[in-house]
C-alpha cells in the first residue's frame, strides 16, 4: 500500500501519547510513595525510602480503616445488588404492572450526582438538623434517638441506592437472555421449581452475577462523594476519604508521600480485580449460549402481590430521585433550614437564588465548568475514537497493548488519579498546567478513556466492513465513504460518549478536589463542596436544583440517542 508509511506513523504517535498519559502519572504516583521529602516539588532520588510505607502500614488506624472499608463496600454491594436484582427480576420475570416506569425511571437515577444525593439525605437525616429527625422529635418527644446518617450504616444505605441503576442495567439483559427452554428442560427432567431454580437458573446466572458484583465493589471502593459527605464529619474514614484527609486536612501539614503509599492499595486492588473481572466476564460469555433469539422468558404470576411489588419498585424511585429533588427544591426556597410546616411554606423566598448571583465565585465557576466539561468531552471522544480505530481496524503491532493501556485507568479511582496528576504537573513545571482547568481536563480525559474506548470498540465492531466496501464498489472514494457512510453510522456513538462524559465530568469531585488550587480553576463540584463546608445550605440547594434539572434533561437526551443507535444496530449486517 502506498499509504502504508502514513498509516504506520499516526498509530505510533497515538500509542506513545496514550502510553504517556496513562503511565506517566502512575509512575509519579509510585515514585512519590517512596519520597520522603515533604513537598512533591522537593522530590529527588536521594530522598527515596520506604519510610512512608512503614508509617502508613504500621499505624493501627490503617487497619481500622481497612475494616471500615470492607464493611462499607460489602454492605453497599449487598444492598445494591439485592435491590437491583429484585427490580430486574420483577420487570423481566413477573407480570408486575407499570414496568415501563421502572425501565425508564431506574436509569434516570444515574443523573443525580452522588454529592447532591448525600447532601439531600443529610438534610433529611442529620441528627441535629435533619427534617425527618425533627419531625420524629415533634411526634414522639425530644428524647427520641435520632436516625444518624453520619455513620457506616448511612454510607451503606446511600451507596447501596447509588449502585442500583448500573447493576440493574447489567442484570436486565442477563435475565432476559435466559432461554426458558433451559428451565423447561429441567422441569421435564423431573426437577421441582425450587430445585430447577437452584440447579439451572442460578448456576447459569452465577458468573454474570459475580462479574456484576465485582464491578460494583470496584465502584463502591472508588467513590469519594458519599463517604466524603457522610463519613468525614463523623471521622469515619474509608480509603478514598483517608487519602483526601491526609492531603487536605486543615490541621496538619500534608504528607504527600504517605497519601501515595496508601494509594498503592488501590493500585494492587485494581490489578487484582481487573484480572478476576475479565476472567468472570469470559466465563459469563461462555455461558452466552443462552443469548440469542428474542424470546420472552416465562413470567411468574404474582397474583395479589402485583401492586405491592410495583409499590416497592416505586418506593425505590422515590428514595433515589424524587426525594432528593424535592428536598433540594424545598430547601432552596427556605430562608433557613426547617421541617415542612405551614409556617415554613408561608416564608418561602428567592433569597438563595439571589445569593448565587452575589456569591462572587459562582459565575467564574460556571464558566470554568462549562469550558472544562466541553473540552474534556471533546478530547475524550476524539482520543477514544482514534484509539479504537487503531485497536479494531488496523494491523498496528501494539494495538492490543494500546487497548489495555486505554482500559487501565478504569480501575483507578478519581482521588488516586488526581494525586498522580498532581505529582505529574508539579514535576513537569515547564508546562503551565498546574492549577488550571486544563489539568482537570487531562485528568478526566485519561480516566474516561476506558469508557470511551469500550463504547467505540463495540460500535466499530458493529459496522460491518462490507458496509464500507459496498461504498467503494459503488464509486465512492475513501473520503466520500467516510463522510457518507462511516461518519453517519458512528454519529450516535460519538454523541453518546460525548454526552456521557459531560454528565460525569460535571459532577465527579475526585479529580477536581486533588487538582483544585483556587478560584482560577474552581469548578461546580468544588464550589458546591466548599459552599456546603461553609454552611451555605440554601445556596447549595439552589445550585444543586439547577444542576439536577440540567443533568436530567441531558440524560433524557442520551436515552433518545440510545434509541437511535438501537435502530441502526438492527440493520448492521
Amino acid at each position: 500500500m502506498d499509504t502504508a508509511a502514513r498509516l504506520q506513523l499516526w498509530p505510533h504517535g497515538l500509542f506513545f501519547l496514550v502510553l504517556f498519559l496513562v503511565m506517566a502519572p502512575l509512575l509519579f504516583l509510585v515514585l512519590g510513595s517512596f519520597s520522603t521529602a515533604r513537598l512533591p516539588g522537593d522530590f529527588s532520588l536521594s530522598t527515596m525510602g520506604v519510610a512512608n510505607y512503614f508509617k502508613v502500614y504500621s499505624d493501627p488506624g490503617t487497619y481500622e480503616l481497612l475494616t471500615n472499608t470492607v464493611i462499607y463496600v460489602a454492605g453497599s454491594v449487598a444492598l445494591g445488588i439485592s435491590l437491583a436484582f429484585s427490580l430486574a427480576w420483577l420487570v423481566e420475570r413477573t407480570n408486575m404492572p407499570g414496568k415501563i416506569w421502572v425501565y425508564a425511571g431506574v436509569p434516570m437515577t444515574l443523573a443525580v450526582p452522588g454529592m447532591l444525593q448525600a447532601m439531600a439525605w443529610v438534610l433529611l437525616l442529620s441528627p441535629r438538623i435533619g427534617m425527618v429527625n425533627r419531625i420524629l422529635k415533634d411526634l414522639f418527644g425530644p428524647e427520641t434517638p435520632p436516625i444518624n446518617i453520619y455513620s457506616l450504616g448511612g454510607m451503606i444505605f446511600l451507596e447501596g441506592l447509588r449502585l442500583v441503576p448500573t447493576a440493574f442495567l447489567m442484570l436486565v439483559p442477563l435475565l432476559r437472555s435466559m432461554d426458558p427452554a433451559l428451565e423447561e428442560a429441567a422441569a421435564i427432567s423431573g426437577a421441582r421449581p425450587i430445585s430447577a431454580a437452584r440447579k439451572i437458573t442460578f448456576r447459569l446466572l452465577a458468573p454474570g452475577l459475580v462479574a456484576v458484583m465485582i464491578y460494583q465493589a470496584m465502584t463502591a471502593l472508588e467513590v469519594f462523594e458519599i463517604p466524603g459527605i457522610l463519613g468525614l464529619p463523623a471521622g469515619i474514614y474509608v480509603f478514598s476519604t483517608k487519602i483526601y484527609a491526609i492531603l487536605r486536612s486543615a490541621t496538619f501539614l500534608p504528607v504527600y508521600g504517605q497519601a501515595n503509599a496508601l494509594a498503592m492499595v488501590y493500585l494492587v486492588l485494581a490489578v487484582v480485580t481487573t484480572y478476576f473481572y475479565s476472567r468472570m466476564i469470559s466465563r459469563a460469555e461462555r455461558y452466552t449460549i443462552i443469548t440469542g433469539k428474542g424470546y420472552r422468558p416465562r413470567q411468574l404470576d404474582l397474583r395479589g402481590w402485583r401492586y405491592p411489588a410495583l409499590g416497592l419498585a416505586l418506593l425505590f424511585l422515590f428514595l433515589a430521585v424524587v426525594l432528593p429533588f424535592l428536598v433540594f427544591l424545598y430547601t432552596s426556597f427556605l430562608p433557613y433550614l426547617q421541617a415542612p410546616s405551614l409556617a415554613a411554606l408561608s416564608g418561602l423566598t428567592l433569597k438563595n437564588y439571589r445569593l448565587l448571583i452575589e456569591y462572587g465565585e459562582v459565575g467564574r465557576a460556571l464558566t470554568n465548568t462549562l469550558v472544562m466539561v466541553l473540552v474534556t468531552a471533546t478530547a475524550t471522544t476524539l482520543l477514544s475514537f482514534f484509539v479504537s480505530l487503531v485497536v479494531v481496524r488496523s494491523s498496528f503491532w501494539g494495538r492490543r497493548l494500546l487497548d489495555q493501556l486505554a482500559f487501565m485507568p478504569h480501575a483507578i479511582p478519581g482521588i488516586v488519579m488526581g494525586i498522580a496528576f498532581f505529582w505529574l504537573f508539579l514535576k513537569l513545571d515547564f508546562l503551565p498546567l498546574y492549577g488550571t482547568i486544563w489539568a482537570m481536563s487531562i485528568g478526566f480525559t485519561v480516566s474516561f478513556l476506558s469508557y470511551g474506548t469500550r463504547s467505540m470498540n463495540a460500535a466499530l465492531l458493529q459496522i460491518h466492513k462490507e458496509l464500507e466496501e459496498a461504498a467503494y464498489v459503488s464509486g465512492a472514494a475513501p473520503r466520500r465513504m467516510m463522510w457518507r457512510i462511516f461518519f453517519p453510522l458512528m454519529l450516535p456513538t460519538l454523541a453518546g460518549v460525548w454526552i456521557w462524559v459531560i454528565l460525569h465530568a460535571v459532577r465527579v469531585a475526585g479529580i477536581p478536589l486533588m487538582l483544585y488550587e483556587g478560584p482560577s480553576n474552581q469548578v461546580l463540584a468544588i464550589l458546591i463542596w466548599n459552599m456546603w463546608d461553609e454552611g451555605y445550605v440554601g445556596a447549595v440547594a439552589a445550585i444543586g436544583n439547577l444542576l439536577m434539572i440540567s443533568l436530567l434533561l441531558l440524560t433524557v437526551l442520551v436515552r433518545v440517542a440510545g434509541f437511535r443507535r438501537h435502530a441502526v444496530q438492527l440493520g448492521g449486517a
Binding site: A470, Y472, V473, S474, G475, G571, A573
Partner: protein, 366 residues
C-alpha cells in the same frame, strides 16, 4: 481477467487465470476457504494480488508489472455482498441512489429518480422507496443490494454468495430470477458460491476451485458428466468411486478401455495418455447405474460377461427420498449408491445385478 495472487505466508489463491466473455455468467465454485471470494475481491479491487494482471473489458485495472492498481471506486463494477451491506442509516431510495450520486458526471435529481425507479422495478421493490433500509425482509434486502449494484449499469457484476442468507424456498425462486435478470440485461457476471446446485443451474461456465487454484473450468453439463479430477467428482453431486488398474488401453479414438476392479472387469472411458497397469479410479453417478430386471443369476454369469459391465450385489438399505429411491448395494465388499425411480420394488437383503453403462463410467488418474 488474468491474475495471480499471493498473500502472507499462505497462498489464498495462486496461479489463477480466468477469462469471462462479455455477457457470460461465470461461476467460481468451491468449498469455503478455497480462495473464490479472494479472487472476486481482487477483481473488485478490495484486495490486491501480489502478482499478475486484471483487465475489465479493455481497461487494465491491475498490473503488478506496471505497478498499476485502480482503486475499487474507479472500476466499472457493481457488487452484491454476502451480508448485502445495506446501509442502515439510509432509506431504500438513498441506498440505490448512492452510486449515482457518487458518479463523476453529476446527474440531475430527475435523472437520479428515474434511474433508481428503473433499478427498483427490475428487482420488484417499487413502492418501498421511503422505507428505512433496516425494515426490509432478507429477500427484500438481497434485491435491494442487487438494485444498488445494477443502478450504474456497470460492465461487470460481482456476486459474492448472494443467496446464502436466504431460506431454502426463497433461494430456489431467486436463483432463476437472478439468472433471468442478468441475462436480460446482458451483463457480464462473476458469481461466487459454494452451492453446487446454484452453480449448475445458473452458470454458462463453472470454475471449480480447490486450495487456491482452478481445478476444472467448463460448462455445467461437462462439469457434472465429465469431471476431470476426483475432487470435482466428489464435490459436485453424489458419486461412486471404484478403484482399479488399467487392463487395456483403447487403440482408436472414442474407444473404451478396460479396468480391472475388485468387483470385476469394467469398460470405461480412460483419461488421455494413460498406460496399462496404472492405478485409476472409476467414477459413476448413482443415477446412471441401472438395476437389471429379473432374478439374479449365478455370480459366475456376470463374470463371464464382462462386456456388459454387470456387477453382482446385495441390497443393504433402501431409503425413500420422495423423488427418488436411494439403494445402497454391497458390491464386492464396497458399498455403491444407486438412484432408482421411487416406484421400483427393491427390498433390503435382495440379491441383484447392477449394470454400469460403459459410456457413463469415467476413469480418473488418482
Amino acid at each position: 481477467m488474468h491474475y495471480q495472487t499471493e498473500r502472507g505466508s499462505v497462498h489464498a489463491v495462486r496461479g489463477i487465470g480466468l477469462e469471462v466473455k462479455p455477457g457470460q455468467f461465470y461461476t467460481l465454485l468451491g468449498p469455503s476457504g478455497c480462495g473464490k471470494t479472494t479472487t472476486l475481491r481482487c477483481v473488485a479491487g478490495l484486495e490486491r494480488p501480489q502478482e499478475g494482471e486484471i483487465r475489465i473489458g479493455s481497461d487494465l485495472v491491475f498490473s503488478s508489472a506496471r505497478g498499476l492498481s485502480i482503486p475499487p471506486y474507479k472500476r466499472d463494477i457493481g457488487m452484491v455482498f454476502q451480508s448485502y451491506a445495506i446501509w442502515p442509516h439510509m432509506t431504500v431510495f438513498e441506498n440505490v441512489a448512492f452510486p449515482l450520486r457518487e458518479m463523476k458526471r453529476r446527474l440531475s435529481q430527475r435523472e437520479i429518480r428515474e434511474r433508481v425507479h428503473q433499478a427498483l422495478s427490475l428487482v420488484q421493490l417499487i413502492g418501498l422507496e421511503d422505507r428505512p433500509a433496516p425494515f426490509l425482509s432478507g429477500g427484500q434486502q438481497q434485491r435491494l443490494a442487487l438494485a444498488r449494484a445494477l443502478v450504474r449499469e456497470p460492465r461487470v457484476l460481482l456476486l459474492d454468495e448472494p443467496l446464502s442468507n436466504l431460506d431454502a424456498k426463497l433461494r430456489e425462486e431467486t436463483r432463476f430470477e437472478l439468472r433471468d435478470l442478468v441475462k436480460r440485461l446482458g451483463i457480464t457476471t462473476l458469481y461466487v458460491t459454494h452451492d453446487q446446485l446454484e452453480a449448475l443451474t445458473m452458470s454458462d461456465v463453472v470454475a471449480v476451485m480447490d486450495q487456491g487454484r482452478i481445478v476444472q473450468e467448463a460448462p455445467p453439463v461437462e462439469i457434472y458428466q465429465s469431471p476431470r479430477e476426483r475432487f470435482v467428482a466428489n464435490f459436485i453431486g453424489l458419486t461412486n468411486f471404484l478403484e482399479g488398474q488399467v487392463k487395456r488401453v483403447p487403440t482408436g479414438n472414442g474407444q473404451l478401455g478396460e479396468v480391472e476392479t475388485p468387483s470385476g472387469l469394467l469398460q470405461c472411458i480412460l483419461p488421455e495418455g494413460v498406460a496399462a497397469g496404472e492405478t485409476v479410479v472409476i467414477v459413476v453417478r448413482p443415477e446412471d447405474v441401472n438395476l437389471l430386471a429379473g432374478p439374479a443369476c449365478a455370480s459366475a454369469d456376470s463374470r463371464s460377461d464382462p462386456g456388459k459391465n454387470v456387477l453382482q450385489g446385495r441390497v443393504e438399505a433402501v431409503i425413500f427420498m420422495g423423488d427418488t429411491l436411494e439403494c445402497q448395494v454391497g458390491v464386492g465388499g464396497k458399498r455403491m449408491r444407486v438412484k432408482l425411480h421411487p416406484s421400483s420394488t427393491v427390498a433390503a437383503g435382495e440379491e441383484i445385478r447392477l449394470e454400469l453403462p460403459a459410456r457413463r463410467c469415467r476413469a480418473l488418474r488418482t
